[in-house]
Symmetry: C2
Subunit: 146 residues, 2 copies
Amino acid sequence: MDKEFQQKLAQIMKANDWHLGIGDVSNATGVSQTKLRYWEHKGYIESIQGKGQNRKFTYSMLMKVYQMKLLLDQGYTLAVAAQKAESKSHELKILKQVLFDRFEGMAEIDGEPAVNLGYLDDKQDSILYAIVNKDGTKFKVVPVTK
Amino acid sequence: MDKEFQQKLAQIMKANDWHLGIGDVSNATGVSQTKLRYWEHKGYIESIQGKGQNRKFTYSMLMKVYQMKLLLDQGYTLAVAAQKAESKSHELKILKQVLFDRFEGMAEIDGEPAVNLGYLDDKQDSILYAIVNKDGTKFKVVPVTK
DNA sequence: CGTGTAAGGAATTCTGACACG
DNA sequence: CGTGTAAGGAATTCTGACACG
């Protein structure tokens, strides 16, 4: 994977530069459009308004909606579900940051596709790879040969 | 992050159970709707048809479209761009798999939010964490205390 | 080949009201 | 409070045709 593409990919992802319609969010999460509008009205979720047209939701908001749905299913009130989802939203943002901060490109290790995750630590004497095969994903620390 | 939510999150992501409209894909990638329809007609990309209504695109397809756009900008023909994008699509699938195979939940290390990435290797004597702070993301290997 | 536009119909989403509780 | 429905308008997307090259 070339650097340029990688950088632009990181850009598009970080900017959250893409949005879903209310129908898509509703279908993905199983939360009705009516609920989504009400939740937004109450300030629990947010949407983007492009020139007074239709709502658009970010990926983060999709995740928050889904979390709220799960919490409601567990018996929480809407207000509590929204509050709990907020903290989980934070966790998901971290997850995303980890991914895009550290993703350094694709590689091949032991004949398997692998993701180069960069230096393991500040010593910068070994690189961490995630190796993917049918059985799942394993890590491998590879010393740098100079 | 509780196990149940995690599993369901993994489910929703793995199933690719959410779709974007053509307008959202067009806005996110800068590729016109006309192009998207033509590319689909030629078989370079795919969309889901829900009961003869409007097209819906998956996240993977959004990425493929974006890659094709970058390749076209670089001067490749449409056919070649599509072919090159196909192999990159494969890489992105791996990236996604790494993320969801290994994500074991949130933790706190040295007072910073961190992602538990599970056992470093088969010895299962140490766990890999990704620690997040303002400066970015670093890894830390923590021995298991039994 | 690869993309654009105008055209009219079909599907989606919008708001404000009213309903139930 | 939290959600649903019917209602009519507004915005989006659809297809097939025609254009340029």
